[in-house]
């Protein structure tokens, strides 16, 4: 069985962000980097499948500059067998269609039975890469999964819908799933596994070999929202709070008019 998991390196979300000089992305200087949270669920699930079936080969793929290798090593230490690093210093400038195109181009002739991605990235948050990749490969995709089971070439997932409603969705492999918070608790790599990961294959491919599609969107501008007035915290008895709130809504807004 062959499994692919696609991960992205993103900044620590507690960083202080600045808009880059280009005005189209954030400034990447002085940031601490980590694995996209949703991709951690993807890696964990992929590793669990591998542990379940035993005879599986798990590849982790990541697009980015030299820096992303640290995050890839984490995936290797968590249990991936090999890494494919698509070397691209300008990955942040690529839009979801291009990223999906690169992954699909890589995966096309490799007969992966299962592909795992995060539901979205914490920085761009488009939630498009996984589903676009599946479409390009002509395989089914199930997005935002919070439960996953694999048996005899079939997957059964639970998806999260609006308002906490869940649905059960099944598909036959090959298939792609995008992983959501709640799917699992990602392991953190043990010391011996971190050291073993050092010896696993980590292949670098130039992005030019894999980028065959053109961009379909363009980021016009990145900016911070205009600062609005500060929030107001009301304290006290429930009854009084309600009165206070109604008073404020009447005075300051038109919602009760």
């Amino acid at each position: 069985m062959k499994i692919l998991v696609c991960i992205k390196q993103v900044p620590d979300m507690e960083s202080k962000f600045k808009v880059a000089a280009s005005g189209k992305w954030y400034d990447t200087a002085d940031l601490a980097w980590r694995m996209n949270e949703y991709d951690e669920y993807a890696v964990e699930q992929a590793v669990q499948v591998k542990e379940q079936v035993g005879d599986a080969d798990l590849t982790v793929l990541c697009i980015g500059g030299e820096r992303v290798k640290e995050t890839m090593k984490k995936a290797l230490a968590m249990g991936c067998d090999r890494g494919v690093h698509v070397a691209d210093d300008k990955a942040a400038e690529k839009e979801p269609f291009e990223i999906a195109g690169i992954i699909a181009e890589f995966a096309r002739d490799k007969q992966f039975d299962l592909i795992f991605t995060g539901m979205q990235s914490q920085d761009r948050g488009s939630a498009q890469v996984g589903v676009l990749t599946a479409e390009m490969l002509g395989i089914p995709s199930i997005s935002t999964i919070v439960q996953f089971a694999y048996a005899d070439g079939r997957i059964e997932t639970r998806r999260e819908l609006e308002g906490g409603v869940k649905s059960i969705v099944k598909a036959a492999a090959p298939a792609l799933v995008t992983c959501q918070l709640g799917l699992n608790t990602p392991r953190y790599p043990t010391l011996p596994n971190i050291m073993k990961a050092k010896k696993k294959e980590l292949l670098s491919l130039p992005v030019a070999d894999l980028l065959k599609v053109d961009a379909r969107q363009e980021t016009g501008k990145m900016y911070f929202p205009v600062k609005k007035g500060g929030g107001l915290v009301l304290e006290g008895e429930i009854g009084q709070l309600v009165d206070q709130l109604i008073q404020i809504l009447k005075e300051k807004t038109g919602v009760l008019a």
């Binding site: 002085d30 984490k74 010391l191 596994n193 971190i194 050291m195 050092k198």
Partner: protein, 583 residues
């Protein structure tokens, strides 16, 4: 590859910034290990601090077992005994992170450092196979029993006795040990006792042996969750196979373990100091008085800055030493059955540096936690705030693994002895300073020059002290103490300076902040060096001779002060903006 510097040689050689290891040199594996340890501590340890410090039954063992699952107990243990045998930087990172937890750090250190290194370095094949795998998983917890009621600093005066049984199969152990960390939970004790009352030796003793009992838990100032008890031996049978290394060679085991032990204590101190600063920086941002957050007051800024500066210097010294130990280990052929002993012997080269960082880092931590309480005001005195615990937990780091007085003595006496054996050309360096003093030493232009000035002052004072006292110098503790201070401050200053320079050269982000911290540290610390030199010289000479010597000190330290207040403000600005220690 660069050749390894000799221990203590930094005092007369110039160190190129690229040749020291700094936290900015962490590779991917180091960063991943740091992340794993941070996660583990947050999930298992920091979340249960109250239970830990209440000594909840079974909890410490449970935490060690969990740490074992992640491989955090086997970092020093060879792979053939189920360990990971990472590099010395990894073990330094683990010790640093764990340091912030107080009680757990002691349990972890008692088990993984002093508790298992005697076996790793000095155990034979059978002993390693029998004990190390169980230590990696915390199946067996270990403790290190050296101190006795009547012998603390003077460890070799121990009175515990081992007598060979008539059938020659056992040593019969009698005596008692005191202040033994992990005693209440240990399955294995490394015990030092004298065979036939004179051959000081180390033994591996089964904690469940008949005749071995432990006393009540000590009520301590801090580290309340760590077990500390006396251990009593009443005719305890120890199989002869459990003698560690050789009869009469216990001191070799004990002293070699202390080097790594001290390095780890220094790393512990850095981790605790960082947490204390993080807590204080956040508190200063949140706490408002006179309608502004207290972080905006000049006197609070100064505290935050100085806390960061000393933490930075200690961190720089600790990782520089970690790098030295690591390079040393990699330069040795440790593959044979004697690998452990070879390692221990190699590490001894940097015994001085280990003592220096231990003294410096434990005192830096003491300053940081103290100012941390001050920033918290009355709340700092209340147990609800972590700074209160950090303050109490810090105190013992200046006492154990060799008190800081013992380490200061050791630093100077080791230097003097190595010089006497011509293992270190210190006396040539003294002559060179003297000749430069006659031709004239130029004004010091920057912090790097002031590091050099500190070394010159050390050498100058050492020369006068040797002239005055000859061999008797080894008995002049007040002079030895001041020499040690100058040497260890030179080490810390140079470590901070080289780290900042390396960051500047590599164009690293935050290089300016590092440079500010190194500058502030060096320009303030140099005044302590001058004081130490002056006090020592005034004891060594009088009259015209002293006047001349003080003129020499003045020439060594010709420099223009920098605006420390402005520097500290800038540093505090960075810390307050981040709300935590950053370098």
């Amino acid at each position: 590859m660069q050749t390894l510097p000799k221990g203590g040689s930094f005092l007369f050689e110039t160190t190129a910034p690229r040749n020291i290891f700094t936290p900015e040199d962490f590779d991917d594996e180091h960063k991943l290990i740091a992340e794993t340890v941070t996660h583990f501590l947050a999930e298992y340890v920091f979340s249960r601090m109250e239970e830990i410090d209440a000594k909840k039954e079974g909890l410490m063992r449970e935490l060690l077992v969990e740490a074992g699952k992640l491989g955090l107990l086997g970092a020093d243990i060879p792979e053939q005994y189920d360990g990971t045998e990472t590099d010395e930087i990894c073990t330094t990172i683990i010790a640093e992170k764990v340091g912030a937890t107080g009680s757990f750090a002691i349990a972890h250190g008692g088990h993984t450092g002093i508790g298992n290194l005697p076996i790793v370095y000095f155990g034979n094949e059978a002993q390693k196979a029998a004990y190390l795998p169980a230590i990696v998983t915390a199946d067996k917890i270990s403790a290190y029993a050296l101190t006795e009621p009547g012998s603390g600093s003077d460890a070799l005066s121990a009175t515990s006795k081992a007598t060979l049984s008539t059938d020659g199969k056992h040593y019969i152990l009698n005596g008692s040990k005191t202040f033994i960390s992990n005693a209440g939970i240990a399955d294995i004790f490394i015990v030092y006792a004298k065979i036939d009352g004179d051959k000081f030796s180390a033994f591996i003793v089964d904690g469940h042996s008949e005749g071995l009992t432990t006393g009540a838990e000590e009520h301590k100032m801090g580290l309340k969750g760590s077990s500390t008890r006396s251990v009593f031996f009443d005719n305890v049978n120890v199989p002869v196979e459990n003698l560690l290394y050789e009869a009469g060679k216990g001191h070799v085991v004990a002293f070699n373990i202390l080097n790594i032990g001290r390095h780890k204590i220094a790393a512990n101190a850095v981790g605790a100091a960082k947490l204390a600063l993080d807590e204080s920086a956040r508190y200063a941002n949140e706490r408002k008085q006179f309608k502004v957050s207290i972080a905006r007051f000049g006197l609070i800024k100064e505290k935050l800055a100085e806390m960061a500066i000393r933490t930075f210097a200690a961190e720089s010294a600790v990782y520089r030493t970690g790098g030295l130990l690591n390079d040393m280990m990699h330069s040795l052929d440790r593959s044979g059955p004697d690998g452990g002993r070879i390692t221990a012997k190699g590490i001894e080269e940097y015994a001085l540096e280990c003592s220096m960082e231990k003294v410096f880092a434990s005192e830096a931590e003491a300053f940081v936690v103290d100012e941390g309480v001050q920033i918290h005001g009355g709340y700092g005195y209340i147990a609800e705030y972590p700074i209160e615990r950090l303050y109490r937990d810090a105190r013992v780091r200046r006492i154990f693994e060799g008190t800081n007085e013992i380490n200061r003595n050791l630093i100077s006496t080791t230097l003097i002895r190595r010089a006497a054996k011509r293992a270190l050309p210190l006396m040539d360096a003294v002559s060179s300073v003297r000749s430069r003093l006659t031709t004239g030493i130029p004004v010091r232009k920057d912090a790097g020059d002031l590091v050099q000035a500190t070394k010159d002052a050390f050498l100058f004072t050492l020369g006068i002290a040797t002239d005055t006292f000859g061999d008797e110098l080894l008995k002049q503790q007040e002079i030895l103490g001041r020499l040690a201070d100058m040497a260890l401050l030179a080490y810390a200053m140079e470590s901070a300076w080289c780290r900042a320079q390396k960051a500047v050269m590599n164009g690293q982000s935050g290089a300016k902040h590092k440079e500010n911290m190194a500058n502030a540290f060096i320009y303030t610390t140099v005044e302590k060096v001058i004081l130490a030199a002056k006090e020592a010289l005034a004891n060594l000479a009088a009259g015209d001779e002293l006047v001349k010597m003080q003129a020499n000190v003045a020439m060594i330290f010709q420099y223009t002060p920098v605006d420390i207040i402005a520097l500290r403000r800038e540093i505090a600005g960075e810390i307050s903006e981040a709300g935590k220690y950053i370098a």
